[in-house]
């Protein structure tokens, strides 16, 4: 049975990659996602000796910021808004790739294509309650996001 990276490792990887790829700086948060009205959620399969799923959920406003920073756009532009879902998927893809390396001690590991949805914070927060590993994070602007690893495909 493959071991998921520790929560500390999850936080370290997420914080490093969000900063490197999208200039978004985060720290761990004790607050849940219950009060976040709407979140963009990306799910990415990580297939190795076992099936895992990465879940990356961000406050809708952060989706726009990710798009703007990844693409070098002004956050207020229409294009940043239009690209926000795809940007969340791309960031989830980058996170899944880095986390998959942590699983490769138990053999080859591949990642899937992100599936995207739009969900209330309370709903995704409840779904993540059973995650094997989970990190609630907050940006320097106070927007919330979460990164989690679930065993199997369900969330």
């Amino acid at each position: 049975m493959s071991e998921a990276p520790s929560e500390e490792k999850l936080i370290e990887i997420a914080a490093r990659l969000l900063a490197e790829a999208a200039f978004v700086f985060v720290e761990p948060s004790q607050a849940g996602l219950g009060k976040v009205e709407s979140m963009r959620v990306a799910r990415v399969a990580i297939e190795g000796s076992e099936a895992w799923q990465l879940i990356f959920a961000v406050d809708t406003n952060l989706g726009r910021e990710l798009a703007a920073n990844l693409l070098g756009l002004d956050e207020s532009t229409e294009e940043a808004g239009k690209s926000s879902a795809d940007a969340v998927g791309e960031m989830a893809n980058i996170l899944a790739g880095a986390l998959a390396v942590e699983f490769t001690q138990s053999g080859p590991c591949r990642i899937g294509i992100p599936s995207l949805s739009f969900e209330p914070g309370a709903k995704i927060g409840a779904a993540l309650a059973t995650a094997e590993r989970k990190a609630n994070l907050v940006t320097e602007n106070g927007t919330h996001l979460a990164v989690a690893l679930m065993r199997g495909g369900a969330a």
């Binding site: 990659l17 490197e20 790829a21 798009a67 990844l70 693409l71 070098g72 690209s83 795809d86 940007a87 998927g89 791309e90 893809n93 980058i94 899944a96 790739g97 880095a98 998959a100 390396v101 490769t104 080859p108 590991c109 591949r110 990642i111 899937g112 294509i113």
Partner: protein
């Protein structure tokens, strides 16, 4: 001589990120064309000259590995360098792709300087090889 670069990725955001990095790299780029999967990329290479292909692995319709395998079957396509730009960083995956004929592998996230180093090197090699 300006180069013609093909960017292959199903994600429009990812294609734009690669395009932006290429533009910022300082390479002498004449045109950057795009395809959203391997099948579209093969059609683009068949229709016009491409100096280098920058491709993702995980794509619907035809993925990056299938695209490279198809390119290897055609003489003029087999000499077109392919750089895989992917989130997948597993050593085994990278080695398997290189064994298939991929020229280089760049993990995401990447910087324009890495594009310049890797793609610039391949373009110089290719320029030297073309009579």
């Amino acid at each position: 001589m300006s180069y013609r670069i093909l960017v292959v990725d199903d994600s429009p955001v990812s294609r734009r990120m690669v395009r932006r990095a290429v533009e910022m790299s300082g390479l002498d780029v004449g045109e950057i064309i795009e395809a959203s999967n391997g099948k579209e990329a093969l059609a683009a290479i068949a229709n016009s000259w491409v100096d280098v292909v920058l491709a993702d692995i995980n794509m619907p319709v035809m993925n990056g590995a299938e695209m490279v395998a198809e390119m290897a079957k055609t003489d003029f396509m087999s000499v077109t360098p392919v750089v895989i730009i992917s989130s997948e960083q597993g050593k085994e995956r990278m080695e398997a792709m290189k064994a298939m004929g991929v020229s280089a592998y760049l993990p995401k996230p990447f910087r324009p300087e890495q594009i310049k180093e890797v793609v610039g090197g391949l373009l110089r090699e290719r320029k030297g090889a073309v009579p």
